[in-house]
């Protein structure tokens, strides 16, 4: 059976269904990966599951007053959490028979937890509040209550964030390791007493067949050892008996195994890492210990259904883990655990993990709203899912964690635009904006992953920055075969071309197109002609000679520019002049971008000044992605 759906009403950040503010999460059959900023509602989802199902580690989550949703100063009187299981085998359905919902096609298991907050005045007149909670099954929670009998079969395995693996895997009363092992089928008969088998000639002594036998045998040997016997004797005769009063003599015993029972044996066991079978007692870092801990938990998960559901709930599995190990863990979860029937719900802040997951398994949680990225929830074409997944490596996967996204079509833009943004006072890092370079504007269609098939919009602004790519007539002397603007106008193709650039727009995805030709051309056009020219010159020198240009080269480049400027041509002609080396691939665009960025940073312009020199579309795009409302327009573009 698998968890198919979770919803919550008036629980923490999630409001009521009537206001369309409740939680609705379609849980994926294998892995469900929840990403989202802090306080977005991820933890509420995790806790909702813990409350309605309970956990195998028996950590008891109390319902407190702040679990009830607050809005406009009012606190909700009641909250409910609902989850639904589908695909029950006959064996599972038999187990839950009395609690099933008998829907048309198949039996399902529905659980509804209702918690009510009741305020009472106590004896001394103070207002106290109490929670009355019950979990029932059946449609609308009208069926049989969930009682002790089946609670144990519904528990999920929960691993909290920032786990202290040391503490969890240590020996001790009620240790997690003992809990895991005692529920493992292999330990079923280990509680039975057993003796040392008879010694066979020529063979080494075999141990007793059960754990209990081993420990009891060891205990006898320990008790018989001269050292222990001596210590015991001295303890008893010289001290304890003398401290006794009356006829009851105190005596002490020194053993491993004080109490009976398999559990007390298991509580003495510790779990630690070895290096190729050799004991390695160096203290390991938390990261590896965490892996050990996770491995131990998984040990029990896919075993029999006696001890709970094969449902793993982990917050931040990446905790303490190096990125490579994070990737490995993700792979393992997907290929091993899930393939063997375990269902996992994870929350993460790690782009590494996100990049490894299938896109359809990811849900973005944003301020109390869940946005599943599975096929029928986004506008992304089903065929594009596969490609987008391959495309999303760890760097690019940070777009799921962004507050705003900028999609660009080249490395140059990737380098330059963040710098420009910072310099005009709209720093991308401060605004949580991620830049993704898709390499080719045809791939702007990946932006559709942010568009919803139905329901509320994903409130993440996505700015696609694109080149209009229509060469101006002013560049006709070096265009070669490329058709210039006037030709295209005559052919009536301009409108079409313009429209096609915006075909992926919709909801919060917007394309910002350079008004004329390319980014560099339009930068030159809007006021950075000289800076661009110098950057190109430097880049050119680098590609020709392989070294940074000499001072002379720079001077002569500058002179060339001044000379051209003096010709008093139109801004467009000047821009065409500046752009020519790039068009002719005499200088690398990327190198140019880097030089320009460095140069601009060095000049330390004020934001207002720089704004005036940038083309409007760039400023608009940057402000859109940063969620800044537009300010005074930068530069009326001189045609």
């Amino acid at each position: 059976m698998r968890l198919a759906h979770l919803s919550a009403d008036n629980f923490r950040i999630y409001g009521s269904k009537a206001n369309a503010a409740n939680l609705e999460l379609a849980v994926r059959p294998g892995l469900t990966l929840l990403v989202g900023q802090n306080d977005s509602g991820k933890s509420a989802i995790v806790d909702a599951l813990r409350l309605v199902l309970g956990t195998t580690s028996q950590d008891w989550l109390r319902i407190t007053e702040d679990d009830f949703h607050r809005s406009n100063g009012a606190v909700a009187e009641e909250f409910s959490i609902y989850c639904r299981f589908e695909d029950l085998s006959d064996s599972e359905a038999a187990r839950f028979l009395e609690w099933l919902s008998l829907t048309q096609g198949m039996p399902i298991l529905e659980l509804t937890l209702r918690a009510r907050r009741v305020e009472r005045t106590n004896k001394i007149g103070a207002k106290v509040w109490m929670v009355d909670a019950s979990t029932r099954t059946g449609p609308n929670g009208q069926g049989k209550a969930v009682d002790g009998e089946i609670r144990s079969f519904l528990r999920l395995t929960y691993l909290k964030p920032l786990r202290d693996a040391d503490a969890e895997m240590a020996a001790g009363r009620g240790s997690r390791l003992s809990q895991l092992l005692i529920n493992h089928p292999a330990f079923k008969d280990e509680d039975k007493p057993s003796e040392l088998p008879l010694l066979e000639a020529g063979k080494p002594q075999q141990p007793p067949p059960t754990l209990r036998g081993i420990v009891e045998t060891t205990d006898r040997w320990i008790a018989a050892s001269p050292a222990i016997a001596a210590a015991r004797s001295q303890l008893n005769t010289e001290y304890l008996q003398k401290l006794s009063v009356g006829t009851d003599k105190l005596t002490g015993e020194i053993t491993i195994h004080g109490q009976t029972g398999l559990r007390s044996i298991l509580e003495k066991l510790e779990l630690w890492l070895t290096k190729e079978g050799v004991a390695d007692h160096t203290r390991h870092g938390l990261g590896l210990k965490n892996l050990l801990f996770i491995a131990a938990e998984l040990l029990l998960l896919s075993q029999s259904a006696e001890t709970g559901l094969p449902l793993l709930l982990v917050e931040e599995p990446e905790a303490h883990l190096h990125p490579q190990l994070q990737l490995r863990l993700m792979e393992f979860l997907e290929e091993e655990a899930i393939a063997s029937g375990v269902q996992a719900v994870l929350t993460t802040h790690s782009p590494n993990l996100a990049s490894k997951a299938k896109l359809a398994d990811v849900s973005i949680v944003d301020r109390g709203r869940v946005f599943s990225l599975s096929e029928n929830h986004t506008s992304l074409a089903p065929g594009d899912y596969r490609f987008l997944e391959k495309f999303l490596d760890a760097t690019r996967a940070n777009l799921f964690f962004a507050r705003g996204v900028v999609i660009v079509e080249g490395d140059a833009e990737n380098i330059l635009i963040p710098v420009l943004a910072e310099l005009i006072g709209a720093s991308f890092s401060r605004n949580g904006v991620s830049v993704v370079n898709v390499g080719h504007r045809g791939l702007f269609r990946y932006g559709r992953v942010f568009q919803r098939a139905s329901g509320p919009e994903l409130p993440i602004p996505v700015a696609c920055i694109s080149d209009r790519d229509i060469p101006p007539d002013e560049a006709s002397d070096y265009l070669g075969d490329r058709k210039k603007e006037s030709v295209l106008i005559a052919e009536g193709k301009v409108a079409l071309l313009d429209a096609s650039l915006r075909k992926y727009d919709g909801q919060r995805v917007k394309t910002f197109v350079s008004p004329q030709w390319t980014l560099e051309y339009d930068l030159a056009l809007s006021g950075l002609a000289k800076e661009l020219h110098m950057a190109i010159a430097t880049a050119k020198a680098l590609s020709e000679k392989g070294t940074a240009p000499a001072a002379d080269d720079l001077t002569s480049a500058e002179a060339a520019f001044i000379a051209e400027e003096a010709k008093q041509q139109s801004a467009r002609q000047l821009a065409a002049f500046v752009f020519k080396p790039l068009f002719k691939k005499q200088a690398s665009k990327v190198e140019t971008a880097q030089q320009l960025a460095a140069a601009l940073k060095d000049t330390k312009p004020t934001p207002a000044d720089l704004r005036k020199k940038l083309p409007l579309y760039l400023v608009e795009a940057i402000e859109y992605a940063c969620g800044i409302t537009p300010s005074v327009p930068a530069n009326a573009n001189p045609a």
Partner: protein, 651 residues
């Protein structure tokens, strides 16, 4: 696989020691070892419940599945409690009382696993599943003008409106609307105008949430038909199924059992006595279906209830599955007597029997079990002289035929309180009594709800939630306490004051609190102190008992129909001849005299025979019959004496 569990002789022997019972006979061992579906034909007093419990014990010791269990179905709460008590006596057996096993009545089984989940899924809201409440609501709704045509058509029918309208139920997976009178040829068919109106009425009541207990069987069958997947799930969950009292299974139950459990992966073993498959003339319940020959039958024929002589009288009367009963307990020979009476001496039958009991049956037996007088027929609507003797009432004028053994619901809240107070002194706890009174409160709420609406509070849980939410729960509890206090009785003034307080607490859920039917219900009906205390006890346990003062001692005789004493053990039993189409004992004389084997009986005689079998297998010590003199010839008398009977003519 649970159905492959096997039990060895050693295991059976040690079980016998552990439970201190005898499990040595071949018959018993065969039943205990069997692990295929079959019937266990258990004669009266042959230890059916003991063997069933032993088998459950064997299963319990080996049971290791957490999601599969044993299902034990009985027909009455009495039988269910019997099994539960025996299982509760040992730690290892007690595990069968909980999940994943299920021990309960048929009704609870179909309710919990089939009918209620199905109704819930269909969104049907339930106000009450209770025959009495249904009858009341049905009759009330029927009296509306839209049903006037049907009112007219059914006005003069023999069965009476309460039976017809109050008995409207859904039958089978198609939920066909039927009622007890419908089997009569002359009843309007379902296509008739009346039939259509009855259908509408029943559907209206269902919409309002009122159902009979047996409606749940219809819904259970509907569930099995429309949610076929449930069948394999239930089979998986209950691979071992035991049915107790198989002879009381009705058609619907039989269909459900066959649908669910007649498959390879299930073992269904039905315990019962087919020879005791009688139905009740007076209540018109549905007769048992053909129970023959579907599966192999294992016998249990060693009885410890009565001795060889009664066994020899009874065995020829086992006609459905002939069985020769053997006594395992030696009992002293007694004067089993047939009283032959005439019209003038019929009233001396009972007293003669009583005197005979006092002389034949030792006090020790009489202390253990009752002495009973039974007959096939309790009452007749219109007695006819030519059918003498007709019913029990002919033998004893004091017999009241319409006292039902079940305690009926009181018609006033005061009555509820009296019953509750009686329970306090019996059980010494307040839990049951408080529940009884809240039952009365819920009835008051129901009455105070306008007809078209559903009561705002329907269950005790809802009532409690309502009171807690209104911060009046402590006050309510105090009222309950006041009602139950062992102080003597509640005076009219005190009662009225308490009722006013109660009404204040409940006013928001009792919109029509001032309606006459509510005020009637809440009125003080108590009598003087002493009567108030005593009358409660009698009303709760209505019995027909005659106290006979003999020469040396007194003896109480309990009167009932044969149907009413099913399953009982008596010290001594007298079976009276009665009439239903024919005279029962007269028609069975050939078998009693040994003249004829029990074949070629008419269908009426067949039914009489089963009934007589039940009657004659009740007593441990003494069995007597009473036959009208005009029904026996001298030759008959001679043959009866040869067969072991004493004959006493009452002139």
């Amino acid at each position: 696989m649970p159905t492959q569990l096997k039990f060895s002789d050693d295991e059976i022997t040690s079980l016998a020691t552990e439970l201190a019972i005898d499990l040595s006979s071949a018959e018993k061992i065969a039943v205990l070892k069997s692990s295929t579906s079959c019937d266990i034909q258990a004669g009266p007093g042959c230890g059916k419940t003991t063997i069933l419990t032993a088998k459950l014990a064997l299963l319990a010791k080996k049971w290791r599945w957490s999601n599969r269990g044993v299902l034990v179905l009985s027909h009455t709460n009495v039988a269910r409690r019997e099994i539960e008590t025996r299982l509760g006596q040992s730690q290892s057996l007690a595990q069968l009382l909980g999940y994943p096993h299920f021990i309960g009545t048929f009704q609870t089984f179909v309710d919990q696993f089939l009918a209620l989940p199905y109704l819930r899924q269909e969104g049907v809201e339930i106000t009450a599943i209770d025959n009495d409440k249904f009858v009341a609501r049905a009759l009330a709704s029927f009296s509306k003008p839209e049903f006037s045509k049907a009112q007219f058509a059914l006005k003069n029918r023999n069965e009476g409106l309460e039976t017809i309208i109050g008995g409207l139920r859904f039958d089978g997976p198609q939920l066909v609307v039927t009622n007890p009178a419908a089997s009569n040829r002359l009843f309007p068919g379902p296509e008739s105008a009346t039939g259509q109106l009855l259908k509408r009425l029943k559907e209206r009541l269902a919409r309002d949430g009122y159902f009979r207990f047996d409606d749940m069987y219809g819904y259970a069958e509907a569930c099995l038909a429309h949610r076929k997947y449930v069948i394999s799930i239930i089979r998986h969950r209950f691979p071992w199924v035991f049915v107790d009292e198989l002879q009381d299974t009705n058609e619907s139950q039989d269909r459900i059992l066959e649908t669910l459990f007649s498959a390879d992966g299930c073992v269904m073993q039905k315990f019962g006595d087919k020879n005791q498959a009688i139905f009740n003339f007076d209540a018109g319940s549905i007769p048992a279906p053909e129970l023959f020959g579907r599966r192999p039958s294992l016998p249990l024929s060693e009885t410890h209830r009565f001795g060889d002589d009664i066994a020899r009288f009874a065995s020829p009367l086992s006609i459905v599955e002939p069985q020769t009963l053997k006594a395992t307990v030696a009992r002293d020979k007694r004067r089993h007597t047939i009283f032959v009476f005439d019209r003038g001496s019929i009233h001396r039958v009972v007293t003669s029997f009583a005197d005979l009991v006092l002389s034949e049956v030792p006090e020790s037996s009489r202390l253990k079990n009752r002495v009973c007088v039974v007959g096939g027929r309790k009452n007749l609507k219109e007695p006819k002289e030519k059918n003498f003797p007709e019913a029990i009432g002919d033998y004893w004028k004091g017999f009241q035929s319409d006292l039902s053994r079940k305690a009926r619901m009181p018609d006033t809240l005061y009555g509820f309180v009296l019953e509750a107070r009686a329970l306090v002194s019996k059980d010494n706890s307040f839990a049951e009594p408080t529940m009884r009174i809240t039952g009365g409160v819920l009835e008051a709420v129901r009455r105070a709800t306008p007809d078209k609406q559903k009561p705002l509070i329907k269950t005790r849980t809802e009532l409690k939630d309502f009171l807690i939410a209104g911060d009046s729960y402590p006050e309510f509890k105090k009222l309950m306490w006041d009602f139950l206090r062992s102080d003597p009785n509640i005076s009219e003034n005190t009662w009225n004051a308490k009722i006013e307080s109660l009404l204040l607490l409940l006013k928001t859920i009792m919109p029509e609190a001032n309606a006459p039917r509510v005020r009637e219900f809440l009125a003080w009906t108590g009598h003087s102190e002493s009567e108030a205390n005593g009358s409660a006890v009698i009303e709760a346990e209505a019995e027909n008992i005659l106290l006979h003062r003999g020469v040396t001692a007194e003896i109480s005789l309990w009167f009932d129909s044969i149907h009413g004493v099913k399953g009982e053990t008596h010290a001594a039993t007298l079976v009276l001849e009665t009439f239903a189409r024919t005279h029962d004992l007269k028609s069975l004389l050939p078998i009693l005299t040994g003249n004829q084997k029990a074949t070629n009986l008419t269908s009426t005689a067949f039914e009489h025979c089963k009934r007589l079998f039940v009657g004659v297998t009740r007593p441990t010590d003494l069995l007597c019959l009473a036959i009208f003199s005009e029904h026996v010839t001298d030759k008959d008398i001679e043959l009866l004496e040869n067969a072991g009977w004493h004959i006493e003519r009452l002139a």
